[in-house]
Symmetry: D2
């Protein structure tokens, strides 16, 4: 059903992300792409923090938003039209303390109309990783980018 | 139970937001504060968009993240310790097309341990408003800012 | 777009509910139907409670599940194919204490592919109503009942 | 922190479930308990179905509601006061077709105030299992059973 190679998929995800001003502003970068799985990360900068010096919840949400959408896009058919995020839910389980924040999204169930994707966000400090957030997202397959 | 005036609450919300680098980066501003209700908005800039020219979902999430947390903080007792976002769920109902994006969060039910908050995000184009997203959030009352 | 009368809609909702064994087992009944809005209720019985004598969370969820799906069905075109619940999120805000539990679901945004619905569940004791739960649901429009 | 054996935990979960009228009505049974993980299942009966002959979404929700709460209870300290479900989100990924429905809930992150739990529901037909739903739940630790 999906005849695109991993390098094609990575190229597709990078090209889509490159066209997004907000990802440039935040500085999020693609770390890993394969069919059904995408990792997106960002390095710590003062502009990404909240008042206690942790990564801002909005940065966590941004990574989840993009990584889940991109993971869903990788399981569409090559001629697939596009994806649109219908909804997601995020549980914040510990504060984002660390030098880097990274989100891995994995497709739970691809569908004709929508794809369900799980995501986990970790904060990295030196060699240790700490779970910061878990999420569950519904991504719709759409022909035109502006209609759910 | 809450003896703070509306101007005290607005001051509290603004001071908390001022200390958040990510809100400065995005340019989100407090538009309205009263007990149990906070509105937060942001003007359109290329850096806040995604590849189709709509406001990025991460910007929508950022407004929801901060507005719901702030709305919950306004219903804590004056000597209240602080709030921490436990989780939220966002439904994206139409693309964020417009000159300005604005999120109004309202407390549904304050609680001893946690406060449930609803939020709606609208995009404004000229004189018209369009619903972009709805959200439901759980905000925990905490004594220390880093433990759920 | 929707040319069915309120009595037609009520009939449609009742017929669909009649065909569901689980609604009979629980004893849930349609209380109100109009385009975009459905209320479903159930009377207190020992079989619907949990260990503290409150309505069981599963009963709350059942009402939300059916009321949100039915509300979405009422905004489909008359020749509309059917609906399937994609997902929902429930916040339980106070225990279900009372003689009767009632859920009102209202469409927030109908869509071509999916409809977003909000719901509130109240418990009634004598003349007073208490908010028990709030929910946000995504209901998919489907041609066949078993494919998302 | 948790000094209870697996058999103590299983006994605790079974005792709590035995006191819930709604679980008896539905016929849900504990299948597996260990620290941080609980499986709950139910056999197919006409009373548990919806209009297309699939397990009703409310039955799926009931299993998730109880299994996630019970999994959170197993990670509390022995003298722990009790748990109360704050919220959950369910994605329905395919219809509940089969002879038996089973939900496994696993703690993602225990916390002082609340525990985050993931759950997956499968339908079994003969020897095959099919994923029916995934869920993410927030369970609060409480001293008294009726206050969040």
């Amino acid at each position: 059903m999906n005849d695109r190679s991993s390098s094609d998929l990575a190229e597709l995800v990078r090209r889509t992300f490159d066209a997004q001003g907000f990802l440039h502003l935040v500085g999020a970068k693609v770390e890993f792409v394969e069919r059904g799985k995408v990792t997106l990360g960002v390095d710590r900068r003062d502009e990404l923090l909240q008042q206690h010096g942790f990564f801002h919840g909005g940065v966590v949400a941004l990574l989840i938003d993009n990584a889940t959408g991109a993971a869903a896009a990788t399981v569409q058919r090559a001629e697939g039209p596009g994806v649109l995020t219908a909804e997601y839910k995020i549980n914040f389980v510990s504060p984002g303390v660390g030098d880097r924040l990274s989100c891995t999204a994995e497709v739970v169930k691809p569908g004709r109309r929508m794809t369900v994707v799980e995501a986990k966000v970790h904060a990295y400090s030196g060699g240790t990783a700490k779970l910061v957030a878990v999420a569950l997202a519904t991504i719709a397959n759409v022909e035109v980018p502006d209609k759910l």
